[in-house]
C-alpha cells in the first residue's frame, strides 16, 4: 500500500457475526483490504470461506441475523457501515454496483431490460426523464456489447442468452456510474467460451471508467486473466493478499501454494490431481492458532498456539509465521 492514490474502498478489521441458538458464529474475522479506483481485486477461496459474505457486508445486504460486529467500511473516504436502510439504498446501485452469479435469475422476468435499466437510472439520477433514461439504457446496452440495442431494449430477459443476460446485468451495475463494483462469481454460471468475453468486458469497462472492482470467484483462471491483485480467504479470514502474478506464481501462504498446486496445468499428464488433505473447518469449530494448521504440512507448535496476522512478504502480505520468526 505504498501507492499514493487514495483508496476507493477501504475495509478495516471487518467482523461479521451470526448470532444463533448454539452461540454466535463469527463468519468474517478481521478482514482488512483496500481497492484503488480502476483496480480489480480478485477474492478467492473455497465455498464458505467468506468471499461472498464480504461482498454482501459491503453492500449492506447481509442475510439476517448476520450483522457487522466490528470494523469499518469506507467508500471514497465516507463510512458506509452502519448506515440506515434508506441511506444504503442511495449507496447501492449508485456508488456500488453489484453483479451476481446467475444472470438467468438476476433479472425480473416480467419487465423488459429497458424498463429495468430505466428504473435503476431514474432511481439514482433524479430528474432524468423517461426519454432520457431510455436513451441512456440504449447507450448502456451498446456499451456492454449487445447488438441492435435500439431493438433489444424492449425485449424481455427470456429473449436473451445467458451471456447476453450477464451483459445486461453488467449494464445494470454500471447504470449510475458507481465507484465500485462487486462482482460475485460473475462467470460461474456461463459457458467457458462466454466467460472470457464477460471478464474481458468487465475489465475493459472498469479501466475506462476508473471503477474499482471486487471480483469474487473460485476460478483461478478468471483471477489470472482479470485481476490486478488477489486476496485469498480461508475460514472467514484473509490469509494472503498481493499482486496477482506473485500470488499465482510464487504463493506465500502454504494454503495458497496448495491451491495453486491443485490446478492441473494444460497439457500436463497427471494421474492424480494434487489435493490438500482434509477440509476447511466449520465456522463454529475453527482450531486454535492458525485456522489452516491441521492441514498444513509446514505447521509447527507456534501455529497451533498463536494465530498469525497478515505479515508483509516480498510483494504482499500473508498470515503465516513462516514470514515472521518461523513456526517453532
Amino acid at each position: 500500500m505504498l501507492d499514493a492514490t487514495p483508496s476507493c474502498l477501504e475495509v478495516r478489521n471487518l467482523v461479521v457475526e451470526f448470532p444463533g441458538r448454539h452461540g454466535t458464529v463469527t463468519a468474517l474475522n478481521d478482514i482488512t483490504l483496500d481497492i484503488r479506483p480502476g483496480e480489480i481485486l480478485g477474492v478467492v477461496g473455497e465455498s464458505g470461506a467468506g468471499k461472498s459474505m464480504t461482498g454482501a457486508a459491503i453492500l449492506g445486504l447481509l442475510e439476517r441475523p448476520g450483522r457487522i460486529a466490528g470494523g469499518e467500511i469506507s467508500l471514497a473516504g465516507r463510512r458506509i457501515d452502519g448506515l440506515g436502510d434508506r441511506a444504503m439504498e442511495k449507496v447501492r446501485g449508485r456508488e456500488i454496483g453489484a453483479i451476481f452469479q446467475d444472470p438467468l435469475t438476476s433479472l425480473n422476468p416480467l419487465f423488459t431490460v429497458g424498463a429495468q435499466l430505466s428504473e435503476t437510472i431514474r432511481q439514482h439520477i433524479p430528474g432524468t426523464s423517461r426519454a432520457q433514461a431510455r436513451a441512456r439504457a440504449v447507450e448502456l446496452l451498446q456499451e456492454v456489447g449487445i447488438p441492435a440495442p435500439q431493438e433489444r431494449v424492449d425485449h424481455f430477459p427470456h429473449q436473451f442468452s445467458g451471456g447476453m443476460r450477464q451483459r445486461v446485468v453488467i449494464a445494470l451495475a454500471l447504470a449510475a456510474r458507481p465507484k465500485l463494483i462487486i462482482a460475485d462469481e460473475p462467470t460461474t454460471a456461463l459457458d467457458v467460451s462466454i466467460q472470457a468475453q464477460i471478464t474481458g468486458l468487465l475489465r475493459k469497462l472498469c479501466k475506462e471508467h476508473d471503477t474499482a472492482v471486487m471480483l469474487v470467484t473460485h476460478d483461478m483462471g478468471v483471477i489470472a486473466e482479470t485481476a490486478d491483485r488477489v486476496a485469498v480467504m480461508y475460514a472467514g479470514r484473509l490469509i494472503e493478499i498481493g499482486p496477482v502474478e506473485d500470488v499465482l506464481k510464487s504463493p506465500a501462504h502454504p494454503y495458497t501454494r496448495g491451491l495453486m498446486a491443485s490446478i492441473p496445468a494444460l497439457g500436463a499428464r497427471v494421474r492424480t490431481l494434487h489435493q490438500i488433505d482434509g477440509a476447511m473447518p466449520r465456522l463454529n469449530a475453527i482450531p486454535a492458532g492458525c485456522a489452516f494448521n491441521p492441514r498444513c504440512t509446514l505447521a509447527g507448535p507456534r501455529c497451533r498456539r498463536n494465530r498469525p496476522d497478515l505479515i508483509p512478504t516480498r510483494s504482499g502480505q500473508a498470515a503465516c509465521w513462516l514470514y515472521e520468526g518461523g513456526v517453532e
Partner: protein, 322 residues
C-alpha cells in the same frame, strides 16, 4: 399469440363436449321421465305420444347429437316440473347468483390481497401473527355456519341488515340487478361476506406464501443491490410476480363460488341458480339439472380460458410459448 388463443378455444370446446355428454347421460340413467311427467290416469296412448314428443324413441346417438345441437343454441328443453323453458328459468336466476359471486370475489381480492402483502412484509410482527391465526379460523369455518352466525348477529340481534331475499331489484333488460336500490345493496352484504370469507383467507394465505417465496428470489436480491427502494420492490417487482397464482385462484374460484353459492343461497333464501338447482334435485327435474351442469361447466371453461390468456398478458415468457 393468436395461435395460443385459438388453441385454448379448441381445448375449451373439447371440454364442453365432454361435459355435455355427461349431462346427457343423466337423462339415460335417471329413469324414465315419462313416468314422472304423466299422471296416474294417463293412458298408454298419452304416454306414447309424450315419449314421441320428447324424442325418446330415437337411438342414443341421435338423441345425443340433438341434445348438443339444441344446447349449443341455448335450448335445454322444458322443465319436467312446470313445463317452462329451462333456459328462461336459469336466465331468471342467473343475475342473482352472478351479482352475489361478483361482490364476493371483489371483496375477497380487496381484503385478501392487502392482508397477504402485509403479513408477508411484516412477517413476525404481532399483528401479522394474529392475522395468520385468524385466517386459519376463516379457512376452517363452513360457510353455512358463518352465514347463520351473521344472521344471528346482524339481523336477529342488531336488526340492521336483512336476513333473507334480494331486496328490491331493478330490471335492466333481462338482467335484474340489486345494485341500484338501497334494500338490494343491504341484502347483498351478509350473503357476500359469508360467501367470501373463505376466499379472503385463501387469497391472503396464497399471497403471503407467494410474496415470501418471491422475496427470496435472485432478482429481488439483485433489485435490492441496484438500490431500488423497498416499497417499489414489494409492490412492483414482487407483487406482479405473485399475481399469476392469484389470478388462477380467483378465476377458478368464481366457478367454485357459483357452484357452491347454493349453500349460501339456501341459508339466505337468495333466489339464485343454486336454489333452482336444489329444487330441481328434489323434483328430479332432469332438464334443469343438465342445463345447470352445462352452464356451470361453461362458466368454468370460460374462466379457465380467460386465465390462460391473462397469463400470457402478465408473463411475457408465455406469449412465445407454443
Amino acid at each position: 399469440m393468436l395461435v395460443f388463443v385459438v388453441k385454448k378455444l379448441l381445448n375449451a370446446a373439447l371440454v364442453m363436449l365432454a361435459v355435455s355428454f355427461l349431462a346427457f347421460l343423466i337423462f339415460q340413467l335417471a329413469g324414465d321421465p315419462v313416468d314422472m311427467m304423466s299422471s296416474e290416469q294417463s293412458t298408454q296412448a298419452d304416454r306414447d305420444l309424450l315419449r314421441e314428443r320428447l324424442g325418446l324413441n330415437d337411438n342414443f346417438l341421435v338423441q345425443y347429437v340433438r341434445f348438443v345441437a339444441n344446447a349449443a343454441q341455448g335450448n335445454f328443453g322444458i322443465s319436467y316440473r312446470n313445463g317452462q323453458e329451462v333456459l328462461g328459468l336459469i336466465a331468471d336466476r342467473f343475475p342473482a347468483t352472478m351479482e352475489l359471486v361478483l361482490v364476493a370475489t371483489v371483496l375477497s381480492l380487496l381484503i385478501g390481497l392487502p392482508l397477504g402483502i402485509l403479513t408477508a412484509i411484516k412477517r413476525g410482527t404481532w399483528y401479522s401473527e394474529i392475522l395468520q391465526f385468524a385466517s386459519i379460523i376463516g379457512v376452517s369455518l363452513p360457510s353455512f355456519v358463518v352465514g347463520i352466525l351473521l344472521i344471528l348477529v346482524f339481523s336477529v340481534t342488531l336488526g340492521i341488515l336483512p336476513a333473507f331475499g334480494r331486496g328490491e331489484v331493478v330490471e335492466l333488460g333481462w338482467w335484474s340487478t340489486g345494485f341500484l336500490t338501497k334494500s338490494g345493496l343491504m341484502a347483498l352484504i351478509l350473503p357476500s361476506i359469508s360467501l367470501s370469507l373463505y376466499q379472503v383467507t385463501l387469497i391472503m394465505r396464497l399471497v403471503r406464501a407467494e410474496m415470501l417465496e418471491v422475496m427470496r428470489s435472485d432478482y429481488v436480491k439483485f433489485a435490492r443491490a441496484r438500490g431500488i427502494p423497498r416499497h417499489r420492490i414489494y409492490f412492483r417487482h414482487a407483487l406482479r410476480n405473485c399475481l399469476m397464482p392469484v389470478v388462477t385462484l380467483t378465476a377458478m374460484n368464481i366457478g367454485t363460488l357459483i357452484a357452491f353459492a347454493l349453500i349460501t343461497e339456501t341459508v339466505f333464501q337468495w333466489p339464485g341458480m343454486g336454489m333452482l338447482f336444489i329444487q330441481a334435485v328434489t323434483f328430479i327435474d332432469i332438464p334443469v339439472m343438465a342445463a345447470y351442469l352445462c352452464i356451470v361447466a361453461l362458466i368454468f371453461v370460460f374462466l379457465n380460458t380467460m386465465v390462460d390468456i391473462t397469463y400470457a398478458v402478465i408473463d411475457p415468457r408465455l406469449r412465445d410459448a407454443k
